[in-house]
């Protein structure tokens, strides 16, 4: 590789590896997400111009951080006449105390965490929190975020800008919230991280490796949360949940990319290391004696994971855990999950009865409902209703491999 090619490759690698960390760091210190992003973009551009000529610096991230800061300082000087320059200059004074050269990885980790909590600010629309996390903490661009959320790219861009403007305009605090504020914000933080994980999870076929990186990044954030909020059982629960799901990645599709449901997955393909780590965090969480949604969801996955050791699934346990989950967070997903577990534990009819209690309007276009209904109708021999439900489920699938799987099930009735 020539020096130039190597320099470009390093810039590209740096963009992938540290964009999120750097934006978070700069935004927290500068109290302006949009300005931090602009400055960082300039810094990357400067790197593309400078590195091929002068060689890649020893610490590329620190170089980029210094360059971005210089841009911010220049910008602030130009804006000095404006009133808004005052807080910026105050921030600048603070900056002086910690020059870029002495910047440490641990410190950056801390900033990302602050940025996470900032994205969960109660004054922000809940719907924009995860996109904001994806962009400012994980460095995902607006078009990809729009794709993950099936929203017009222009709309997503506008929403993100509005949210950033709000963070800038309101006297919102960029500091870590007081401990008393944690419970209020933590849930939103955890939900945002889990949704970030989910947007990586859907593409588990591996067609797009960058999406897989996203799931890995979300797990990284989960680890960060556990490290900085020791003894917070829900943070540990979330980490355990993500690790349990991640452990099964290799088993979710066959070599041809076909969808394989959990009950038919080859357990030898599950990652024992990740299961072990998940179990570790879940048992630590249990010590706090405070049950929550993520711990329950992780516990459900934990029972599934035990199949790799015992060869069996304790459906009664899963049904009980879902019972608790439905009480805490009565989402459609939890209700359908409970019906599935109950059907396995007590028979298909029990599951069908529960499904029948769900509001018709809400489940009309909810794919998992129809997939489960199809399976259960098939088991009790109501074949016509099973076919109908399989068809609905297939028609509501966005994933072609899932659609094909459902079609095959339907044809096999």
């Amino acid at each position: 590789m020539t020096g130039t090619a190597k320099a470009y490759a390093t810039v590209e690698q740096a963009v992938r590896d540290c964009y999120g960390r750097l934006v978070a760091y700069l935004a927290v210190h500068w109290r302006d997400v949009a300005a931090a992003e602009d400055a960082l973009a300039d810094a990357f551009l400067a790197a593309c111009e400078t590195w091929p000529r002068q060689g890649v610096p020893d610490k590329p991230e620190a170089w980029l951080l210094t360059a971005a800061r210089r841009r911010l300082v220049d910008g602030a000087r130009r804006a000095r006449v404006q009133a808004k320059a005052v807080p910026e200059l105050l921030a600048l004074a603070e900056e002086g105390a910690s020059p870029g050269a002495e910047w440490e990885e641990a410190e950056i980790g801390d900033e990302r965490l602050r940025m996470l909590f900032l994205c969960a600010h109660p004054e922000l629309d809940p719907g924009i929190r995860t996109p904001l996390v994806l962009q400012t903490v994980l460095g995902v661009d607006a078009t990809r975020i729009a794709t993950a959320f099936v929203v017009k790219p222009a709309t997503m861009g506008q929403r993100l800008s509005r949210a950033k403007a709000k963070l800038r305009a309101a006297p919102l605090r960029f500091e870590m919230p007081e401990k008393a504020e944690w419970p209020g914000r933590l849930e939103a933080v955890l939900e945002a991280v889990y949704a970030a994980y989910g947007s990586g999870w859907e593409e588990a076929a591996g067609a797009e490796p960058r999406r897989r990186d996203l799931a890995a990044e979300a797990i990284h954030l989960g680890r960060l949360l556990v490290r900085f909020l020791p003894g917070e059982p829900e943070a540990q629960g979330l980490l355990a949940l993500m690790l349990h799901l991640e452990a099964r990645r290799a088993a979710r599709r066959d070599a041809k990319g076909r969808y394989i449901p959990l009950s038919e997955q080859d357990v030898t393909l599950w990652s024992a290391d990740e299961i072990g780590e998940a179990e570790h965090h879940l048992s630590l969480a249990a010590r706090a004696g405070r049950m929550g949604r993520f711990q329950l969801e992780a516990a459900i996955q934990s029972v599934h994971a035990h199949r790799s050791m015992t060869g069996e699934t304790a459906w009664e346990d899963i049904a009980l855990l879902y019972e608790g989950l439905v009480r805490l967070a009565p989402t459609l997903g939890a209700q359908v999950g409970r019906a599935a577990a109950l059907a396995e534990a007590q028979g298909a009819q029990a599951g069908l009865s529960l499904l029948g209690e769900l509001p018709q309007e809400a489940v009309r276009s909810y794919q998992p409902f129809w997939a489960l209904a199809a399976h259960l109708y098939g088991r009790v021999g109501r074949l016509e209703e099973a076919r109908e439900a399989y068809s609905r489920a297939a028609g509501l699938s966005t994933d072609p491999s899932v659609r094909r799987f459902l079609q095959e099930r339907m044809n096999g009735l």
Binding site: V151, S365, S391, R392, G395, R403, Q407
Partner: protein
């Protein structure tokens, strides 16, 4: 609010409609999708279209309508059918579009009817 969901198909996809081996799978994907749309109660109207070879286009040149075989524009993908759906917003329309079994789909808001 009405939205039109336009499905575009490549030549290969159009060919599948006639291919005895692939026809069934092609049709099955659409059957399920159409059923899901209809059962959810969002469909206003819809139609599949014959392939672009069946198209005849008219274009006015020098004040005279010139008739020619084929579609107006020659592109890699051609309109294969459409749904007009009644959903609350663009996001709901996009959600439905994402479920379609083919690979290219366009969503546009309908203008309010001319009175």
């Amino acid at each position: 609010m009405h939205y039109t969901v336009l499905f575009y198909e490549s030549q290969e996809e159009f060919a599948q409609r006639q291919d005895p081996e692939k026809k069934e799978e092609y049709l099955a994907g659409w059957t399920h999708y159409v059923k899901a749309l209809r059962e959810s109660g969002v469909v206003v109207s819809s139609s599949g279209l014959y392939p672009p070879e069946a198209a005849t286009s008219l274009r006015r040149r020098d004040g005279k309508m010139v008739v020619q075989d084929g579609p107006i524009t020659e592109t890699k993908e051609q309109l294969g059918g459409f749904f007009v759906i009644d959903v609350p917003d663009m996001e709901a329309a996009l959600e439905w579009a994402a479920r379609c079994p083919n690979n290219a789909v366009e969503v546009r808001p309908n203008l309010p009817p001319v009175r």
